[in-house]
């Protein structure tokens, strides 16, 4: 199975093309089943691979070794032809990611069959979805940083297409553009990191870079630069501070898309990439520190913002950002295993949450939680599954989220207790706002009767994935933790980080506090919202700050505006300076010439300068009034003058 790992990205790609090009656009097109089938196949294959990897030890480099393209390069002053290899590297993280991506993808596709049914661009949606999965899987399996980057960009564009799927509305196009541009900004850093890697190593192969670093050839400073570049890229893709602004807006896309791309898979790509290049970060403590703090800050800020949002998807989006911050911070704190572990568990429960939210939105046709309430009876399956997911993310003991989060907190504390405090605060807030969402949505009174009345449980096609995911949310952590499976899959090879010892009681304390904050949430949001309103009045500036997302959007808008001004300025410069210099400047020279030749002529015809024609006209007029006014004796005079001058010139030598 491992030998055919390269098929995993190619099959969804083929499926995508088939769906896109085959048949006419039809709301009831059967073609999407091709995508589902392809994904199912991929899942099966991924599971086999996972099994292979879990039972083997070394990272695996399956054949074939294709050349994508070749180009000339220079090594030690000698030019040679470098073959850009296309090959696959299946190691623990990749195997794990494969399963996560294919599984979530399959479930989302199945879910979408129902969710998107009847949409005018039903078929196109699945084509995009398959395309996304293909790129994501390519990103996961590639052994080539360059190919990874290519896929990285492709998932970006799939995200763009899917966010802007309902492009005829006002919001999605803007959100799509914002998402693309923000991640592209991050990609610039990654781009530079890529360049640096190749200049330094002469290869894009992860395995070769790793060897290079292992042999100690990589200077720490360069490693830091590369690391920061990668971090910047990852910050864009994984919505880390300060580039997370796009993710809440990305919720304009269809909800299953949010579940797949903006919760489970694509946004994890940044974390995954940092994980893949971990050997390089390990050389540079500075870069590590940056990663850790970027993650911590993100986790905290996002959590605070999630506390005040009323849009159900936005809450989830902020939560995603926050959780990604956790992962990043873990990676930065030498918690490689923990970070990737959390990535896995998070994928499931966050996908579940989004799908559940989708189910709710499907039922009530609004995102605003203030118009929901009391839906638990109407939508029991959705309620139960989402409740489980919230428990999991909130860190309820023995659920999968708890396992990974505990692990992260432990690692972080060992690295730097300050990080631990920040993360703990974020974790508590997580528990709080997740349940705030649950309570607002499912319990209490129906705040909007009309909507409540029409609400109904989603069809089986949608609830089945929810149930399956709920199952995974509960057990994944335990399964992976058993026999230290995760430790073997994600071996942490670095020398043990000598740091602070993590006292066990602290873990229990955090767990306890998290449960406490769930209860606190019931206090505020379980019944009526008077307590919140009162609080809000007291802390209005804080609420404002949070609701305006720390004014980061304004900052970026200001940046965009600045760019626009720069563009206007540049164009003005182009049209009025550069162009004129070459047209009028030329004319100016001629004008001087004309002035000189006009020495005898008082009648200089002054004209307004107007581009090429005008100026040459000036010159023409100047010269003409001098040389050919029809007065023959003047002509003779010029000859006499010229001859005298020439005679003087020669005879005086």
């Amino acid at each position: 199975m491992l030998d055919y790992a390269f098929l995993i990205p190619l099959i969804p790609l083929a499926a995508s093309l088939i769906i896109l090009l085959g048949g006419k656009e039809d709301p009831h097109s059967p073609l999407p089943y091709v995508g589902v089938a392809a994904m199912a196949w991929c899942l099966v294959q991924s599971l086999f691979i996972f099994w292979d990897v879990a039972t083997a030890t070394a990272p695996l480099l399956p054949a074939p070794d294709w050349t994508w393209f070749s180009f000339g390069a220079t090594a030690a002053g000698k030019p040679y032809i470098y073959d850009m290899p296309l090959n696959v590297l299946i190691d623990g993280p990749a195997a794990l990611m494969l399963v996560v991506v294919t599984l979530v993808s399959l479930l989302v596709q199945v879910y979408s069959l129902a969710y998107m049914h009847g949409d005018a661009r039903f078929k196109r949606y699945f084509a995009f979805l398959s395309f996304f999965t293909a790129s994501m899987l390519g990103l996961v399996v590639s052994n080539n940083l360059f190919v990874t980057f290519a896929c990285w960009e492709l998932v970006g564009v799939s995200s763009y297409l899917l966010i802007g799927f309902w492009f005829e509305k006002q919001g999605p196009p803007y959100a799509a553009k914002k998402a693309f541009m923000t991640t592209k900004l991050g990609d610039c850093g990654l781009y530079l990191a890529l360049l640096m890697v190749f200049i330094q190593v002469g290869s894009f192969q992860f395995t070769q870079i790793r060897e290079f670093v292992a042999l100690g050839y990589m200077p720490p400073l360069i490693a830091t630069v590369i690391g920061l570049g990668i971090l910047f890229g990852a910050a864009g893709k994984s919505a880390q501070f300060p580039l997370f602004i796009w993710l809440p807006d990305a919720m304009e896309g269809p909800t299953p898309v949010s579940a797949l791309i903006h919760a489970a898979t694509m946004v994890a790509a940044g974390v995954y990439l940092v994980g893949r290049m971990y050997f390089l970060f390990a050389v540079s403590p500075t870069a590590m520190e940056f990663v850790a703090w970027a993650g911590a800050i993100t986790a905290f800020m996002a959590a605070t913002m999630a506390m005040v949002s009323y849009d159900i998807k936005r809450v989830l989006a902020f939560s995603t950002v926050s959780q990604l911050g956790f992962m990043m911070c873990a990676l930065g704190a030498y918690g490689y295993t923990a970070g990737l572990f959390h990535l896995t568990t998070h994928a499931f429960f966050k996908a579940l949450l989004f799908l559940g939210a989708g189910s709710v939105i499907h039922a009530v046709h609004t995102n605003d939680m203030r118009q929901m309430g009391g839906l638990s009876k109407k939508m029991p399956v959705t309620f139960v599954t989402m409740f489980i997911a919230s428990l999991s993310i909130g860190g309820f003991p023995l659920l999968s989220g708890w396992w990974s989060k505990e692990m992260i907190l432990e690692k972080v504390f060992e690295h730097d207790p300050r990080l631990f405090y920040v993360l703990t605060a974020s974790a508590l807030m997580t528990a709080f706002y997740m349940f705030r969402m649950i309570f607002l949505t499912f319990t209490g009174n129906d705040r909007d009767h009309e909507k409540h009345h029409h609400a109904h449980e989603s069809p089986l096609m949608m609830t089945a994935p929810l149930v399956l995911l709920a199952f995974l949310s509960v057990f994944t952590g335990w399964l992976l933790h058993r026999h230290d499976l995760i430790g073997r899959l994600l071996p942490f090879e670095l020398a043990e980080h000598a740091g602070h010892h993590f006292p066990h009681w602290l873990g229990y304390a955090v767990t306890g506090l998290a449960c406490g904050s769930m209860v606190l949430s019931w206090f505020f949001y379980g019944g009526d919202l008077s307590a919140v309103t009162a609080l809000k009045e007291k802390l209005l500036p804080l609420f404002n700050l949070l609701e305006r997302r720390y004014f980061l959007d304004e900052f970026f808008l200001w940046l965009v505006d600045l760019c626009d001004r720069a563009a206007k300025l540049a164009f003005w410069f182009d049209a009025h300076v550069i162009d004129q210099v070459f047209i009028d400047g030329w004319g100016l020279v001629m004008k001087i010439f004309a002035e000189l030749s006009n020495l005898f002529d008082a009648l200089f015809v002054d004209k307004t300068v107007d581009g090429f024609g005008g100026l040459t006209m000036d010159v023409g007029v100047g010269l003409r009034s001098l040389v050919t006014n029809g007065q023959i004796q003047e002509y003779l005079m010029y000859i006499a003058v010229a001859v005298s001058l020439f005679a003087t010139l020669i005879l005086s030598r």
């Binding site: 003047e634 005079m637 003058v641 005679a647 005879l651």
Partner: protein, 163 residues
Amino acid sequence: MLAPLVFYSLAAVVLLSALAVVTLRNTVHSALSLGLCLLGVAGLFASLGADFLFAGQILIYVGGIAVLIMFVVMLLGRASDLHLRQVNNQWMAGLLICGISLFGLLHVIGLFSKTTATVSPVPSTRLLGLLLMSDYAVPFELISLVLLASLLGAIFFSKAEAE
């Protein structure tokens, strides 16, 4: 002793009448001065021993060209022109240029301030005739064509429009 007297008087005639040619308002007077000037030049030729040229100058220039010009002046002459300025407004510049040129020319001429004649003049008519029939035969033939062309032109231009 006689030679300088002759020279200076001839030079005076030539230059003064030349000045008259370019300054007088009345074109008829100018034309008359031109004749005088040409006569003076003929005199200079004589003083340089160019006997044939002396005769040629008088016959062709004074008798031909100056008279022809006089004819035309009379033909065109309008009494009303007499009060008009005959010199245009660039005379100052012209004067300046001529002054500067004179300075330069005199500078060059200064080279010959000590050159005097080494042989006394001999009659040159015979020599000229020989030259024209031998070495200068081609130009001699050619100049007949020049004259022919100019006649052709004169006839063409002065013939009244027939058509």
